[in-house]
C-alpha cells in the first residue's frame, strides 16, 4: 500500500506584508498542488491523502474551490482522500465541502465529511474529520473502536487533524492528538495535519508532513509531502519526505561593518535564486551604523540587487553614525544642532521613558516640550522609542548630506 500524505495546503490563505502581491503567492500554491498530484501519479500511490486544511477557510472564494477541484480532476488516476481540518471543518451547508464543485466532484475525489473508513488496495483508510474549529477532544480516539471493526491483519491507515500533545507546545482546545495515537489504535500509519513543519512520532508511525508551501520566514521544516509505503500490518511504515514547495523564503543579512564583504556574500546567495526570481521571497536585514557616504550607496546597491525579486523586502535597521570627532565638530560648529540632539533625548525620556544619557545644559521647559509634541502630527500616546530614533537619524542624515 502506497500513499502520498499531505496537509495544510491552506489554499486562499492570507500573506501579511505583501499587499497586492499576496495574490501571486496564493496562485503559487495551486501550482504546487498540481506538482504534488503529479508526484503521486508518478509514484503510483494508492491514495493521495490531504489530512486537513486544504483550504484556509470555509469561506474561500469560489474560484479557489473550482481551481482545486479542477486540479484533482486533471489527475483521474489519483485517488484523492480529503479530510476537513480545523480551518475548513465540515460544519454543514456553509462548509466548503458542500459547494457544488465538491458535491458534483469527479469519482477520484472522496471527502470524509463524517468519520468512517474506506478500503484501499486491501488495506483500510480510517478518517476522523473535524466538524468545528476548536475542541479539547483527541480526534484520533475514534480510530480505536473503528479499527476493531476491521478485519485482523489488514493494513490500517488513520487520517486526522490536530496538534500534537507535546507538553508545553499545544493548546488544550486545539484537538490534542496523543503522541502514541497510532500504536494505541493499532494503526500502521497515522497521517495528521495541522502544524506547518515536518514532524514524526510514535516510532515513525505518526507523521505530520507540514505545509507543502512555506508561508513565513520562520518555517524551516515546511515545503514537503510524505510518500508512505506500507508493507503489511505490523510492519513499520517506510516514509520519505518529498519536497514540493516552489517558493523559497530566505532571510539574508547585510552588515555595514564590512560592506564589501556583505555585498559579495549577498550577491552569491541571491545568485542561486535569480533563476526563478518570482519563486523567492527575500528579506534582507540591513544592520549597522555608517556615514551617509557609505549608507547611501549601500542602499542603492541593495535596491538594484533586489529589484528582480518581486517578493523582496529590505529591512533597514541601520543608523547614521558620527564619529566622536564628527560629533564634537557638530557641537562646536553648530551649537544649536547640538542642543537639538540633547533636546531629542530629553523629549524621548519625557515621552517614552527612554534613558537620557545626554542631558542638555539648558533643558527645555515642560511647556516647551508640550508645544513641540503637540505640533507634531502623531498623538503622543502612540509614540515609541523608534519615533525618536527616527528623528535623530533624520537630523544626522540631513546634516551629513549637507556637510
Amino acid at each position: 500500500m502506497k500513499l502520498i500524505h499531505s496537509a495544510d495546503w491552506q489554499l486562499g490563505c492570507r500573506f501579511k506584508n505583501f499587499g497586492e502581491k499576496a495574490e501571486l503567492l496564493r496562485q503559487a500554491r495551486l501550482k504546487t498542488l498540481r506538482r504534488a498530484l503529479e508526484e503521486s501519479r508518478a509514484r503510483q500511490a494508492d491514495a493521495f491523502i490531504i489530512a486537513g486544511d486544504l483550504f484556509d477557510d470555509n469561506e474561500v472564494e469560489e474560484n479557489i474551490v473550482t481551481a482545486a477541484v479542477a486540479a484533482f480532476a486533471d489527475f483521474p488516476e489519483v485517488s484523492v482522500y480529503i479530510l476537513p481540518g480545523n480551518h475548513d471543518p465540515f460544519t454543514g451547508p456553509a462548509s466548503v465541502w458542500n459547494r457544488k464543485a465538491f458535491l458534483d466532484a469527479p469519482a477520484n475525489i472522496r471527502v470524509f465529511r463524517e468519520a468512517g473508513f474506506v478500503e484501499v488496495n486491501g488495506g483500510f483508510l480510517l478518517a476522523s474529520p473535524l466538524h468545528q474549529k476548536q475542541s479539547t477532544l483527541d480526534p484520533s480516539l475514534k480510530f480505536v473502536e473503528m479499527a476493531k471493526q476491521l478485519p485482523k491483519g489488514s493494513s490500517l491507515v488513520g487520517v486526522t487533524h490536530g496538534s500534537l500533545a507535546i507538553p508545553g507546545q499545544y493548546q488544550p482546545n486545539d484537538f490534542p492528538i496523543n503522541l502514541q495515537a497510532a500504536t494505541r489504535a493499532d494503526l500502521d500509519y497515522l497521517g495528521v495535519g495541522h502544524w506547518h513543519n515536518w514532524q514524526v512520532y510514535d516510532n515513525g508511525r505518526l507523521v505530520m508532513p507540514g505545509t507543502p508551501e512555506q508561508d513565513s520566514f520562520e518555517q524551516t521544516g515546511a515545503g514537503s509531502i510524505a510518500h508512505v509505503v506500507l508493507d503489511g500490518h505490523g510492519a513499520p511504515p517506510r516514509v520519505e519526505q518529498v519536497g514540493v514547495g516552489s517558493v523559497r523564503w530566505r532571510t539574508f543579512g547585510f552588515n555595514l561593518l564590512d560592506p564589501e564583504g556583505a555585498r559579495a556574500q549577498l550577491q552569491a546567495a541571491v545568485a542561486d535564486l535569480s533563476t526563478e526570481p518570482d519563486s523567492a521571497v527575500i528579506r534582507v536585514r540591513m544592520q549597522g551604523s555608517a556615514t551617509q557616504e557609505v549608507l547611501v550607496p549601500a542602499r542603492e546597491w541593495l535596491g538594484e540587487l533586489l529589484k528582480p525579486f518581486q517578493f523582496s523586502r529590505l529591512q533597514d535597521e541601520t543608523s547614521v553614525a558620527l564619529t566622536r570627532a564628527e560629533l564634537e565638530h557638530l557641537k562646536a560648529g553648530h551649537p544649536i544642532l547640538a542642543q537639538v540632539l540633547a533636546d531629542l533625548d530629553q523629549v524621548a525620556a519625557f515621552s517614552v521613558g527612554m534613558r537620557n544619557e545626554n542631558p542638555a545644559p539648558e533643558p527645555l521647559s515642560p511647556s516647551q516640550v508640550d508645544k513641540v509634541l503637540n505640533n507634531a502630527p502623531i498623538d503622543r500616546s502612540e509614540l515609541t522609542a523608534a519615533h525618536f530614533e527616527l528623528a535623530r537619524q533624520l537630523l544626522l542624515q540631513k546634516f551629513q548630506e549637507r556637510t
Binding site: 484556509d56 454543514g92 456553509a94
Partner: protein
C-alpha cells in the same frame, strides 16, 4: 545706505524735471503743503531702487502724470559702504535701467537692464516678487526704516531672507546657514504632507490619498468581518438546530406513542363506563322497587296500629260528650241567678246619679246669676269713667299747643330782645334836661310819642335809641339824631327779633309770652287728669281690656242663666235653698253613689264568672262532639287505606317483599362487577389522552419549525459560504496592512521632521532672545525720553515685534492697546534704534513720510531731541506738511524744478 539726490521726470504732478537734494547726512526736512508731490517723489525713488525696470504693474503706471502716457524716469544717487552710486530707470515706454558707480570723479556705467537691476538688488539686499511690483517686504533694510505715509502704526513682519538676516544682525547672532538650511529642508519635508497652519494632511497629498484609501479599505474590511460574524452566528445557530431537531423528533415519537396508548385506554374505559351505566340503572330500578314494597309494608303496619288506637279513642270521646252536656245545663242555671242580682244594683245606682246631677245644676245656676250681677255693675262704672276721659281729651285738644321746648325758644328770643334794647339804650341818645320851670314836654322816640313831665331845676335824662324829637313848649321842636352805624344795625336786629317773637306767638296761638306760660301749665294739668282717668278705666275693665268685651261677657252670662232656668225649672223651695244647703246635699249624694257603685261591680263580676264557666262547658261539649266525629272519619279512612294497600299485592305482600329483595341483591352484584372492571382514576383518562395528543402535536409543530429554520439556515449558509468572504477579507487585510505601513512611515517621518525643525527654531529663538537686551535698552531709552517715563521699558518678542510697554514684561500694556500717538512714537523709536544698532556697517537712511500726526506739542519737542541724537549716526529724511513742527531742526530741503 544714505540718499544724496532724487531726480524725476514725468512722474505724477512733475511733468518736467524736478530734483531733491543733495541731502545732508543728518536731518533733512522736506516741508511742503499737501498734494505737492512729497510722497510721490519718495515712492518713485523706491520704485527706481527696488522694482524691475520692465515692471508694468499698476503701481508703476500710477507714477505716470495723469492723462498722459509719458514714461516715468527716475534717477537716485546714493552712498553705500563708502561708495557713491547712481541708479537710473525709465519705466513703461522704452524702459531702461542703468547702474553707475562714481569713480575717479565721474560716473562709470556698471550694468544695464536686468543686470543693473540685479546689481542693485544685491547691493541693497532686496529682492523682487515673481511678478508685479515690489512691496516694502522686498526692500531689504529700507523696508523697515522707511515709515510710509499711512503706515505709521504698523511694523512690517520680519519675513523672508532679508527679514531674517536683519533680525539676526540686530540680535547679533552669528548666522548659521547650515542650521537654517536644515530647518527649511525639514519644514519642506513636513509641509509636503501636512498643512502649515492646521497640521492636517495636505489636500490631495500623498498622505491624504493613502489615509483616505486606508479608511475606505478599513470600512470594507469591517463590513466583510461583520458579514463573517453574521455567518458565524448563523452557523452557530445551525449547529444548535441539529441536536434540537433530533431531540424534538425523539420526543415526538415518545409523545405520540404515549398519546396512542392513552387513546386505547380511554376507549376501553368508555365501553366499561357504558356497561356500568346500564348496570347502575338496573340496580337503581331494583332498589326503587324494594324500597316501594318496604314502604308499603311499613305503611300497612302503621295503619293497622293507628286504626286500633282510633277505635279506642272513639269510645272515650262518646263518654266525654255525655258529661259535657250535663255540666253545661248546670252552668246556665247559675247565670240566670247572677243576672237578677246585677240588674237590681244597676237600677239603684241610676236613681242616685240623677239626684246628684240636679243638685249640681242648681249650684251652677246660682253661681251664674251672681256673676251676671257683678258684670253688669262693672260695665256701668266703666261707662262713667269713659265719659270723663273723653271730656279731658277734648279740653286738651282745645288748649294752645305750647311745649316746654317752644316756650324755651320764646324765652330766648325775648331775652335777646331785652339785651338788644339794653344795648340800644346804652348806645343811644341821652338828653338831659334841667328846666328852670316845671313843665311838660312831648317826646317822640323809637316810633312812639310820650309826654314827660319835668320839674324845675331837676335834671331829667331822656334816652332814645337813635333819634328823639322833643317838642319844647315855647321854644318849638327839637330833633336830636345819632349817626352811629352800629346803633342802626342793632336796631335792625331788634326789629327782626321782635317780629320773630310775634310770629312764634301767633303760630302757637297765644298773645303774649305770659299766655304761653299759662297755656303750658294748663296743658300739664289736663294731661295729668287724663292719665288718672285712663288708669281708673283700665282698673275697671280688668282682663277684658275694653268696655265692649266686658259687656259681651255680661250678655253671655245672661244667656247661660236663662238656659239653666229653663231646663231645671226649679221649684220654689229649690230656689230658696241657699247654696250651702245645696253643697251639703251634693256631698251626701256623692257618698251614696260610691257605695252603690261597689255593689253593682260585685254583681257584675259574679255574672261574668258564671258566664265564662258556662262558655267553657259549652266548648268542652263541642270538642267532645268533634272528637267523636273525627275519630269516626279517621277509622273509616284507615280502613280504606289498608284495603287499598293490600289490593296492590294480589299475591300477598310478604311474597312481594321477598321477590323485591332477591332482585335487589342480583342487581347490586352485577353493578359491582361492572364497576370493578374500570381502572383507577378512569375519569381522568379522556383528558389525559386529549392532553397527550395535543402535546404530541405541539412537539410535531416545534420540530417542523425547527426543520424549517434549519432548512432556511442551510440556504443562508450555503449563500454565505459561496460569497468567499474569507478571500475578500484576506485581500482587504493585506491591502490595509500595506497602507497602514505606508501611512505610519510617512507620518513618522513627517513627525520627526516637524519635531526636529521645531526644536531648531526653538533654539534659534532662544538664542535670539538672549541678545535682545541692547536693542530693547536703546528703544526703551528713546521712548522714555519722549514720554518722560524713565521707569517704563519697551519689550520685544522673539520675532523682534513690540510686545508692549511697562515696568515688567508681565505687566506691560500690549502694543495694540496703546494710543495712536504712543504707537507712532514707539515705531519711530524702533526705526531709529534699528538704524543705530546697524550703524556699525555705516549710516542708514531713515525716511519718515508724514508720521507723528498724533503727537502733541510737548512730545513733539522731545521727538526732535531724539531725532537730533539719532542724526549722529543716521540720515533722516522727514517729509511733512507741518514745517513749523521741525523748525530749527536739520536742513530744510525742497523740490526744485529743472
Amino acid at each position: 545706505m544714505i540718499l544724496e539726490t532724487i531726480e524725476l521726470k514725468h512722474v505724477g504732478p512733475f511733468r518736467n524735471e524736478v530734483s531733491l537734494g543733495p541731502l545732508k547726512n543728518g536731518i533733512n526736512v522736506l516741508a511742503a503743503p499737501n498734494e505737492r508731490g512729497k510722497s510721490t517723489l519718495l515712492r518713485a525713488a523706491a520704485r527706481a531702487l527696488f522694482d524691475r525696470y520692465t515692471c508694468k504693474d499698476d503701481e508703476i503706471q500710477s507714477l505716470q502724470p495723469a492723462g498722459s502716457d509719458l514714461a516715468p524716469a527716475i534717477v537716485v544717487i546714493f552712498h553705500s559702504g563708502g561708495t557713491r552710486y547712481r541708479a537710473e530707470k525709465r519705466f513703461l515706454k522704452n524702459p531702461e535701467s542703468q547702474f553707475s558707480e562714481w569713480r575717479n570723479g565721474a560716473w562709470q556705467l556698471v550694468a544695464e537692464s536686468d543686470d543693473a537691476d540685479r546689481r542693485l538688488q544685491t547691493l541693497l539686499q532686496s529682492n523682487v516678487p515673481g511678478r508685479g511690483a515690489t512691496k516694502a517686504a522686498h526692500w531689504g533694510l529700507l523696508g523697515y526704516l522707511w515709515a510710509r505715509q499711512g503706515d505709521a502704526s504698523e511694523w512690517p513682519i520680519w519675513e523672508g531672507e532679508t527679514g531674517q538676516f536683519i533680525q539676526t544682525r540686530l540680535a547679533k547672532v552669528e548666522l548659521d546657514p547650515l542650521v537654517n538650511s536644515l530647518r527649511d529642508i525639514l519644514w519642506q519635508e513636513y509641509a509636503a504632507l501636512f498643512t502649515e497652519a492646521g497640521g492636517r494632511p495636505r489636500k490631495n497629498g500623498e498622505l491624504e490619498r493613502l489615509e483616505t484609501e486606508l479608511d475606505q479599505v478599513s470600512g470594507e474590511l469591517a463590513e466583510v468581518q461583520r458579514k463573517r460574524r453574521g455567518a458565524e452566528d448563523l452557523q452557530k445557530r445551525y449547529s444548535e438546530l441539529g441536536p434540537e431537531l433530533k431531540r424534538l423528533e425523539m420526543e415526538f415519537q415518545d409523545r405520540e406513542a404515549g398519546a396512542k396508548r392513552l387513546r386505547g385506554e380511554a376507549n376501553e374505559v368508555e365501553a366499561a363506563r357504558s356497561d356500568l351505566q346500564l348496570r347502575e340503572g338496573e340496580f337503581a330500578a331494583a332498589d326503587e322497587k324494594l324500597q316501594a314494597v318496604n314502604a308499603d309494608v311499613e305503611k300497612l303496619r302503621i295503619h293497622r296500629k293507628d286504626l286500633k288506637e282510633a277505635k279506642r279513642a272513639l269510645i272515650q270521646a262518646v263518654a266525654a260528650e255525655k258529661a259535657a252536656v250535663a255540666e253545661k245545663a248546670a252552668a246556665d242555671e247559675r247565670i240566670a241567678e247572677a243576672q237578677t242580682v246585677f240588674d237590681s244594683a244597676t237600677a239603684r245606682l241610676a236613681s242616685l246619679n240623677a239626684a246628684r246631677q240636679r243638685i249640681a245644676d242648681l249650684q251652677n245656676l246660682k253661681q251664674h246669676e251672681t256673676e251676671l250681677a257683678a258684670a253688669k255693675q262693672q260695665a256701668k262704672k266703666a261707662q262713667v269713667q269713659g265719659a270723663v276721659q273723653k271730656a279731658l281729651k277734648a279740653e286738651l285738644g282745645e288748649t294752645p299747643n305750647v311745649t316746654p321746648q317752644k316756650l324755651s325758644i320764646l324765652h330766648q328770643v325775648e331775652q335777646q330782645i331785652r339785651e338788644s334794647e339794653t344795648k340800644l339804650e346804652a348806645l343811644g341818645l341821652a338828653i338831659e334836661l334841667t328846666p328852670e320851670n316845671d313843665g311838660a314836654i312831648k317826646v317822640h322816640r323809637d316810633g312812639a310819642e310820650e309826654r314827660i313831665t319835668l320839674k324845675a331845676r331837676a335834671k331829667r335824662a331822656i334816652h332814645a335809641v337813635q333819634a328823639a324829637e322833643l317838642h319844647l313848649p315855647g321854644w318849638g321842636k327839637l330833633q336830636v339824631r345819632s349817626g352811629a352805624t352800629e346803633l342802626r344795625e342793632l336796631q335792625e336786629k331788634l326789629d327782626n327779633d321782635r317780629a320773630d317773637l310775634r310770629e312764634s306767638l301767633v303760630e302757637i296761638g297765644v298773645v303774649s309770652l305770659a299766655d304761653a306760660e299759662q297755656a303750658l301749665s294748663h296743658r300739664k294739668d289736663l294731661q295729668m287728669d287724663l292719665r288718672s282717668a285712663q288708669e281708673k278705666l283700665h282698673g275697671l275693665l280688668g282682663d277684658f281690656g275694653s268696655l265692649e268685651k266686658l259687656e259681651e261677657h255680661a250678655a253671655q252670662l245672661a244667656v247661660r242663666v236663662g238656659a239653666l232656668r229653663q231646663s231645671l225649672s226649679p221649684t220654689g223651695p229649690e230656689r230658696a235653698k241657699p247654696s250651702t244647703d245645696l253643697d251639703v246635699q251634693a256631698e251626701q249624694l256623692k257618698g251614696r253613689v260610691k257605695g252603690q257603685q261597689v255593689i253593682q261591680a260585685d254583681a257584675s263580676t259574679d255574672l261574668k264568672n258564671k258566664r265564662r264557666i258556662a262558655g267553657e262547658k259549652s266548648e268542652a261539649r263541642g270538642n267532645a262532639e268533634r272528637e267523636k266525629i273525627n275519630l269516626s272519619a279517621k277509622i273509616s279512612s284507615m280502613e280504606q287505606q289498608i284495603e287499598s294497600l293490600l289490593a296492590r299485592y294480589p299475591q300477598g305482600i310478604e311474597k312481594a317483599t321477598k321477590d323485591a329483595q332477591g332482585a335487589f341483591v342480583r342487581a347490586e352484584a352485577r353493578r359491582n362487577e361492572a364497576r370493578s372492571r374500570l381502572p383507577a382514576e378512569y375519569e381522568k383518562l379522556p383528558e389525559r389522552s386529549r392532553r397527550a395528543t395535543q402535546a404530541a402535536e405541539e412537539i410535531r409543530a416545534a420540530a417542523e419549525r425547527c426543520g424549517n429554520e434549519q432548512h432556511r439556515l442551510e440556504g443562508a449558509l450555503e449563500q454565505a459560504g459561496a460569497e468567499g468572504l474569507h478571500s475578500k477579507e484576506c485581500r482587504l487585510a493585506e491591502r490595509k496592512e500595506s497602507l497602514r505601513t505606508q501611512v505610519d512611515a510617512l507620518r513618522a517621518r513627517s513627525w520627526a521632521a516637524r519635531l526636529v525643525r521645531d526644536l531648531i527654531e526653538l533654539r534659534q529663538q532662544a538664542a535670539t532672545r538672549s541678545v535682545l537686551e541692547p536693542l530693547e535698552a536703546r528703544l526703551s531709552a528713546a521712548f522714555a525720553e519722549i514720554t518722560s517715563g524713565a521707569d517704563r521699558r519697551v519689550f520685544l518678542d522673539d520675532e523682534l515685534q513690540i510686545v508692549g510697554v511697562g515696568e515688567s514684561r508681565e505687566a506691560a500694556v500690549g502694543f495694540p492697546y496703546l494710543s495712536q500717538g504712543a504707537k507712532e512714537q514707539l515705531l519711530l523709536c524702533l526705526r531709529l534704534a534699528v538704524a543705530a544698532e546697524l550703524s556699525a556697517q555705516g549710516r542708514n537712511l531713515v525716511i519718515l513720510d508724514d508720521v507723528l500726526v498724533n503727537t502733541d506739542d510737548l512730545r513733539q519737542d522731545r521727538v526732535l531731541d531724539v531725532l537730533r541724537g539719532a542724526a549722529e549716526h543716521s540720515q533722516i529724511l522727514i517729509a511733512t506738511c507741518h514745517p513749523e513742527r521741525y523748525r530749527g531742526v536739520g536742513e530744510l530741503v525742497e523740490i526744485r524744478v529743472g
